[in-house]
Symmetry: C2
Subunit: 307 residues, 2 copies
């Protein structure tokens, strides 16, 4: 299994330099998440060959337009295409009211059910408890209620080592027990096969943290320690630090220091200010602090490979 992140858009505020507003497709355990949904996201999905029907979960970080103005259009298109499957929609308070008002005025009754979850601003909540992973909210520090999201795979089961598997019939129950880390015992309770001799350690559990618009949230460093991928906004380079604080944003250097402190696998920088036609100042600044930094360039797919 792997974890995949496809960047659809990554510009802040106004469209500029052929860069679109924030939207990304995150894939975990065969589940596809759309994270934020700026205007035109459905067109970008078409361009990057992501089928609308794959998306069963949409997570919106906050109600600034560059993060959600494409949502109502995307839901309308899902409706037009005959979607029946339920959709999970997570976002800030107010999102539901806005969508319902727009649907009411177009006299549209969606032919699929939306399970709305409005997160509690300022709190870290468990949003999804899937058998194989969890998602929690990460409270951001922004001008309006805003949340990031942390996706973590649950610990995986041990793997049977086919090479040393005893040449005997193990029952399905035995196999399940081995995967759960148990030894196989004889009827008298003595150990027949010691688990660690015929199993391998589990595959790693992957994780992804999405930091939407925010000032530096140094207090979250323990929460996200060791995540494989960290997407963090870096609206400005560090010479604009005052401006970043004033507008509730982060600089590339701050994001990189945060990534370093949290010992993440890879840092992906996004949400670029329109003032940067070229993004060299952002990436160069970040790499000086944390080398495994990359830019959230549209169309780029970041993959963390597992087995």
């Amino acid at each position: 299994m792997s974890l995949e992140l496809l960047i659809l858009g990554s510009n802040s505020a106004a469209f500029a330099h052929r860069r679109h507003h924030t939207a990304q497709i995150f894939k975990l355990q065969d589940q596809h998440f759309l994270i934020d949904c700026g205007e035109g996201t459905q067109l970008l999905m078409k361009r990057h060959k992501v089928k609308l029907s794959r998306i069963d979960h949409i997570f919106i970080s906050h109600l600034h337009g560059d993060h959600y103005f494409g949502l109502i259009g995307l839901l309308s298109t899902m409706h037009l295409f005959g979607r029946k499957k339920e959709l999970l929609l997570v976002g800030p308070p107010g999102l539901k009211e806005i969508l319902q008002l727009q649907l009411r005025h177009s006299e549209t009754s969606l032919n699929f059910h939306i399970q709305f979850i409005e997160f509690t601003p300022g709190e870290s909540e468990l949003i999804m408890d899937h058998p194989k992973f969890t998602v929690i909210t990460l409270p951001m520090d922004h001008r309006v209620p805003c949340s990031g999201y942390l996706f973590r795979e649950k610990p995986k089961k041990r793997r049977i080592n086919r090479k040393v598997l005893p040449d005997v019939d193990l029952t399905n129950l035995d196999i399940m027990r081995l995967k759960d880390g148990e030894d196989i015992k004889n009827a008298d309770g003595s150990i027949k096969y010691e688990n660690k001799l015929i199993t391998l350690d589990p595959n790693p559990s992957y994780s992804y943290a999405y930091f939407s618009d925010t000032r530096l949230r140094a207090e979250l460093v323990e929460t996200i320690r060791g995540v494989d991928l960290l997407y963090h906004e870096a609206t400005f380079a560090n010479d604009m630090k005052e401006r970043a604080i004033q507008t509730y944003h982060t600089t590339a250097e701050q994001a990189a220091q945060f990534a370093k402190d949290a010992e993440v696998g890879k840092l992906i920088l996004g949400h670029f200010s329109a003032r940067y036609k070229e993004l060299d100042p952002i990436i160069n600044e970040a790499k000086e602090v944390f080398d495994n930094s990359e830019l959230a360039i549209e169309g780029t797919k970041f993959v963390v490979d597992g087995k």
Copy 2:
């Protein structure tokens, strides 16, 4: 002076075949109108080099998403770009509430004033009475409250015929009177210069009718008789006539017959169903009834030239 219509988008319902949702830029007497504003309109304006700052009037026909989902993003970008000029926004009841809700949740107070006019569904109202033109609403027959718009230049003044102008000094007041059609008189009231001998007929007054989503509105034929340009939706070809009636739309043949009956200068067909990858069935059918028909292809500019 001339009248210009630039098509930004013309597809109905879903984006398809690289065709975008309805939006067009109409220019009359140096005033720029944005008529309808589907998702991504601000990007299409960029593509077709229309400056946001030129737009002082936005007319929305109805609250189906393919006609207005781009509006909130466009207004937000105007705000980001520092617009101060007042904007006239005409649309159906409900539009104001939707925009205000979205602005409230993003904690945005626009730095320009919007003069909202919500039209009265089902009625034909005078929306603008500019010194040089008028705009009235045209009630459409659609699933939700919907209005078209009729732009008409007012009669223009007579033109001084420089070639036969008497070789005498005319005062500015004389010139104004001549343009208004008056004769120039001597002190005793006798005619000094007869108007019709030294002036030319006024330039023609141009007009444009926009028929948004609607069933055939044959009862409006007199209202729009002789307009220079008629944009009319033609969602379907005539083999889908039942479907057109059912969904409150028009066929190409119906639109063409309407254009012929109303003796318009040119018919522009738009709002194509995604079922038509090629638009030949639409245009061929229309041309059989009304030869001066054209398709609303994105990027096309229709110009009616005056002097």
